[in-house]
Every structure is written in structure tokens, then in C-alpha cells.
């Protein structure tokens, strides 16, 4: 210690003076660095920057529609690129918002994120743009428009695409336990679960299950198990309405009880199955809650003779009416960094034209969120050629996205924490678990 002080302490006046200069130089350097990184170049108001998803099929779709747009509108060209690489597209968008380097148009915004961005004032209220509402009413039914409307009454997103979550099942495993159709209700599912449970290698432990739910408490995992079941049991009810918690209801209790029975009966494994050979393809699990993206994967990797189908998620025994599910919606937004939001909207309108929606469907096997998609003759050829997508198209009429809530992730986190305690481990009764989750969300809201 002492030698360091002695070394620089010889001229204390100088010692104090020069570091100030150095600090000043460093601060100037940092300022120059930051200003160099900032978008100082004036944007051409007749040029549009468009970020697509980084899914290769969507990149190709973006390339084609941008080429088409640029051919038709050479005076207002679009430059496109996939969302830059990052740990998640959400983090990249956040960084872009902070650095004010957001594109004009971004097409892959998770609906659950929109409210927070809207509150921060970084999105353009699209309902203020000419012709927006006409297009919306033409494209979507009233429930979708209501879902897309923010708490301040404005609409900041264009409902674009959905991937409904359904129950994927192994046909032969169900035939093996004497079932020709998949379980549709909780009782049928529990009964099938009992028959499906097996120790196939004789080591004294169960190694064949009715299904598997991700046991990780990470909030978004509940989008693919609890949430679709909740929407199905509640006819598409919200979790929160404005500042009010509404998920602590009969439907949620029934879902928690149903899943608790599955864990209590050892019908679902608690051991994480990620990172090993796909348990659905190896026949270790008979069902999965998943979306249409599974089709191309299964077609590529399914073993010889493997048969699978999709069905709606199970519902309470006395359920009446349509079965809702989570649609995993991704939407289009325009950022307020856009020098010409009207032009950006014109491009978005072009992007969601019927012809481009069909092109999108054909290229990506994701469903455009437009009303009567399955009944519209314009899309029939696709479904004739892709019968695997028909269950999803039928389901598309009965999907819900997420509630317009700026702290939605924390709502799901609170549910996920209690899901683990009440459902997976059963250390608290499900009613108490739900009440505790509701109490936590009330504190957050």
C-alpha cells in the first residue's frame, strides 16, 4: 500500500491537477463516442425501415413483399432487415428504444409487451392515422379490436398473426390404451393419464406419462399450460382488467385442481425434460400443449409409422360452448422515431393485404389474424394442401391474446410461483395458492 502512495505523493499539487484534465478528456471522449453512436444522420422521410422476425421463413417473406413494395413505390423505398441478434428480440427492441434507433415498422411484437411500450410513449397510436380503423374493422372482429385496444383507448398495434396452442397427441399411444379419440374433458384426461402411466423398462419408476408441463417457474412457461387451460375453462376470460385482478375465479381454481390431480397421481413428471431426446417423439409422453410450429418439426423428425393429431385443450366436464385457447399473437407496431408514420402505415396496410396474408400463410405456416380465415375461399387452397393446419384454422376463431397490462410478466410470474407451490408440489391448497398470487398482483397493480 505505502509504496503506491509514496510514488505519486511527491508533488501533491500536480497530482490533483492533472487527473482533472484526464477526467475531462475521458468525459469528452465518452461524449464523442456516444454522439458517434447516436443516429445523427437526418432520416429521409420518404424511406421506411422495417424489421422483421429473424425466423428464416419470415425473412424470406419480408424480402418478397419489400421487393414488391419497392417496385410499386420507388419514390418511398423500404429497407428491411431481421431484428438484430440478441438474447431475445425483446431485449433488442428495448435497446433500440433507449438508443432511439428503432425502425419505423416492427413486425413481431408480442402483444403482451405493447402496453408497456405504449405507456412509455414510444409507439404511434395507429387509430389516429387515416384509414386505420376501416382496415381494422374489415380485418378483425370486435373482440380482437377490443383486445388490441390499450388502456388509454388508443390502438398501438395491428393484429397480425397467431399460433393457437392446442393439444398434440400420439394417436398410437391412445389406441394402445383403448382410446380412439383424445381426451376432451378433465375426467377423460385423468382416466387416460392413469392408463398411460407405465414403467416400460421395469426399473420400478414411471417412464411413460400422459404429458409434460415445463416445471420451470419462468413466467412465460405458463403461457403454454395454465393460460390456455384457463382460457378454455373460462370461455376466454381475462386475467386482469385495468387495475383489477380477475383470475382468482372458479375457472382458475378448476384448472389448478385438475393439474394438481395430475401431479398428485404422478401422471406428470416433475423432472425437467428439456435437453434430452424429444420425449413426445420417443413415446415417453402422449400429449403436449403446443402450436402449429410443431408440424414442420414433427414431419421432419418423426420416426417411421409415428402418428399424431391435434385437438383442443381439455376442459371441465360440464363445459358448454366453444373452447378458447391462447393464440400467441404477434403484432405490427410503428415506433414514434418514424419521420413519416403515415407512410409507414401505408406500408403496413400493404403488408397485411389479403394477397400478402395468403403469401405469409403459405410461406410460414403461421395464421394471419383475420376473421373467417378458414371459411374464406381465398385461403381454401392452402388448407386443402396443408390438412395438418386445419385444426389450427378452426381453432383460430376462438383464441385470445393477452390482457393490456403494463406489468403482465409480473402477473404471470405471480401465477407461476403459486403454480409451482400449489400444483406441482402441492405444499399449499390450490385455493390458497391462487389467492396468494392474486394478492401479489394486487400489490403490483
Amino acid at each position: 500500500m505505502h509504496f503506491g502512495v509514496a510514488g505519486i505523493g511527491g508533488n501533491s499539487g500536480g497530482f490533483h491537477r492533472y487527473p482533472k484534465r484526464i477526467s475531462l478528456a475521458v468525459v469528452c471522449g465518452m461524449f464523442l463516442l456516444m454522439t458517434a453512436c447516436a443516429p445523427t444522420r437526418q432520416r429521409n422521410p420518404n424511406e421506411i425501415i422495417f424489421w422483421s422476425s429473424n425466423n428464416p421463413y419470415e425473412i424470406e417473406f419480408a424480402r418478397i413483399i419489400v421487393a414488391e413494395w419497392n417496385r410499386r413505390h420507388p419514390q418511398s423505398p423500404v429497407r428491411y432487415q431481421p431484428v438484430p441478434e440478441g438474447q431475445s428480440s425483446e431485449e433488442v427492441i428495448l435497446a433500440a428504444v433507449v438508443g432511439r434507433t428503432t425502425p419505423d415498422v416492427y413486425a413481431n411484437m408480442w402483444q403482451g409487451d405493447v402496453e408497456a411500450f405504449a405507456r412509455a410513449g414510444v409507439l404511434v397510436p395507429l387509430d389516429t392515422l387515416p384509414g386505420f380503423l376501416d382496415v381494422m374493422y374489415q380485418r378483425c372482429d370486435s373482440s380482437v379490436i377490443q383486445e388490441a385496444t390499450s388502456q388509454d383507448g388508443h390502438i398501438y398495434q395491428v393484429p397480425w398473426k397467431i399460433n393457437p396452442i392446442m393439444m398434440l397427441y400420439n394417436v398410437r399411444l391412445f389406441q394402445a390404451i383403448g382410446m380412439e379419440r383424445p381426451p376432451a374433458t378433465y375426467s377423460e384426461f385423468l382416466s387416460a393419464a392413469e392408463k398411460m402411466k407405465a414403467d416400460t423398462d421395469g426399473d420400478g419408476y414411471v417412464d411413460r406419462w400422459i404429458g409434460y408441463l415445463n416445471v420451470n417457474v419462468t413466467w412465460w412457461k405458463r403461457l403454454f399450460d395454465f393460460y390456455p387451460l384457463y382460457l378454455a375453462a373460462s370461455h376466454g376470460a381475462p386475467l386482469v382488467q385495468g387495475e383489477r385482478v380477475v383470475f382468482n375465479n372458479r375457472a382458475a381454481r378448476r384448472v389448478f385442481r385438475f393439474l394438481r390431480k395430475l401431479y398428485a397421481g404422478n401422471y406428470l413428471p416433475r423432472d425437467p425434460m428439456e435437453g434430452r431426446q424429444d420425449p413426445f417423439l420417443t413415446g415417453q409422453v402422449a400429449t403436449q400443449f403446443t402450436g402449429p410450429w410443431a408440424v414442420s418439426y414433427l414431419e421432419k423428425f418423426k420416426p417411421e409409422g409415428f402418428q399424431y393429431q391435434f385437438a383442443p385443450v381439455p376442459v371441465p366436464d360440464d363445459h358448454q360452448g366453444p373452447i378458447f385457447t391462447y393464440g400467441d399473437p404477434k403484432n405490427i407496431v410503428i415506433f414514434n422515431t418514424s419521420p413519416n408514420p403515415r407512410l409507414a402505415w401505408k406500408f403496413v396496410r400493404f403488408m397485411i393485404e389479403k394477397e400478402n396474408d395468403r403469401r405469409f400463410l403459405e410461406m410460414t405456416d403461421q395464421l394471419p389474424r383475420r376473421k373467417n380465415l378458414f371459411r374464406d375461399p381465398y385461403f381454401q387452397t392452402y388448407f386443402r394442401n396443408n390438412p395438418r393446419m386445419i385444426p389450427f384454422a378452426r381453432q383460430a376463431r376462438y383464441v385470445r391474446g393477452t390482457d393490456g397490462c403494463p406489468v403482465l410478466k409480473e402477473v404471470f410470474d405471480a401465477i407461476s410461483q403459486q403454480f409451482e407451490a400449489g400444483v406441482i408440489y402441492g405444499v399449499v391448497p390450490v385455493e390458497v395458492a391462487l389467492e396468494m398470487a392474486a394478492r401479489r398482483v394486487r400489490l403490483i397493480l
Binding site: N11, G14, Y18, R21, I22, S23, V26, G29, M30, E91, L94, V97, V98, A116, F117, R119, A120, G121, V122, D203, G204, Y205, D207, V215, N216, V217, T218, W219, P269, R270, D271, P272, M273, G275, R276, V407, K409, E410, D413, Q417, E420, A421, I424, Y425, V427
Partner: protein
Amino acid sequence: MRISQHWRGYGFVAPYVIHFLLFVAFPVAFSLVLVFHRWNIIAPMEFVGLGNFYRLARDTLFFRSLGNTLMFLLIHIPLQIVVALFFAELLNRRLHGRGFFRAAFFLPVIVSGVVVTILWQRLFSFDSGLLNRLLIALGLGKVGWLVDPDLAMPSIALMATWKNVGLYIVLFLVGLQSVPSHLYEAAELEGASAWQKFRHITLPMINPTVFLVVVLSTIGGFSLFIEPYILTGGGPLNRTLSAVLYIYKEGFFFYHMGYAATLGFFFALVIMLVVVLQKRVVERNVTL
């Protein structure tokens, strides 16, 4: 004038100074500002005074994560010291392939923590893990290494010890080799047993190394993150939720930057207190 005289010196230290200012001083100063604000990155900062501290005082989950981290340290540090000292003692003797063993024990230290964790995830798996297969082959029952709430943190401590022990073996080796051999010779002349030599010569002489190992493993243990993040996500029942993992979740899952900064400062204070306490208890001056 002095700058012109010593520009070479300033030039040499400039990379470090710039790095320090950009990546240490600025983040710490900015975090200090954040402690008194609510900020979700995209919206403007909002001054909340001591609001974040008030929230911290009522945050039972944070205190649980602190408890989990202490539990990890209680298992990990003694285990690490005993295992590292044992192997250092062995590797300090004349044995065939000593260089190979020294390198082999050090290998996990240089392998990425993520890789090691994924490897152990496969070993610990309840249904298909190698450890449970071995137990079944031996006629024993399966163990819920990561799914049993009571066992998950000890399992992580076991894995962390395996990963880090190589570094501490090297440190102890250095310590052991610095013990003057005439002390052992004198003790042998006096008829001291192996245990007596270890207890009364080796241990006091390597006390500075023990202190270094305790401090390093404490600080390393307090920063427990990758293992629970990958292995368990903090579960089951938040039993492996470490303090750093909780701070990370608050900051980067929910974007409570101000609150995460407050937790970070508080946690740094806890670490400092523990290390000061350890310094008083463990460190003793050895004079010859």
C-alpha cells in the same frame, strides 16, 4: 508540464483508466442514482426517494434468496476447503503422473460454467440421470437431486465444488510448498505424528492461504448465478433462488432497474460485512 514529461506513463495506464471509468466507475455511479429512482429503461426515470429501500425491507423473497445463498456457502466453503486441502496434500507428495493429476483437477476451472452446468444437469436428472441410474444399478432408490426442494441447493453446492476445487488445490499447493521443511524435520525429531504435524505446523503455516480461499470462495459463492439459472431457474419452491439470480430477474425480467440496483448495493454491503467478519475470525498472524 508533468503530463508532457510522463505521457508515456499516462499512456500505459490509459487503457485501464478508460476501462475503469467506463465499466466500473460509471456503472457504479449510475447504479447509485438508480437506487433512488424507478426506471424501466423505456420510460423516463421517476424519483422515489427511499421507496426502493422500503420495498426491500418488505421483500420476503429477497431475504429467502439471501438465506438460500448463505445455505449454499455453508455447504460449499467447508466442502471446498476440505476437498481442496486433501487433494493438495496428495498432489504435494511424490507420485507418478503428478503433473497429469494437477492438470486434470484444474481442468473444470477453465471449462465454461454453462458447459459444466449442462453436464451436471444430465448427471442429476431424476429419470434419466447417470447418478440415479448408478443408484438403481446398485439396488438403491432414485434421488431427486434437483427436484427435491431439500436437496436441490446441496446438489448445486456439490457441483460448484467440483467445478472450482481445482483453483483452490493450486492455491493450497502453493501454500504447502511454502512451509519450511525444517519445521517438519524438527517435529519429527520430537516424535510428532503425521496428524500433529498437520495440525500444529501445516495448518497454522497455510493460514493466509486458508483465509484467501475462504474469502475467494465466499465472494464466488455469493455471486452464485449460472448454476441455479440453468439447472433449476431458482426452483423448486424458490429453494435455489440465489440473491444474484433474484437481482437479475428483477432487473432483466421485469425491468425494475432502480429496485435491482438497490438490491445490488444492499447485497454488496452484506458481502462486505461477511468478509470483514471472516477476516476477524479466520486470519491470524503467523510469526516464526
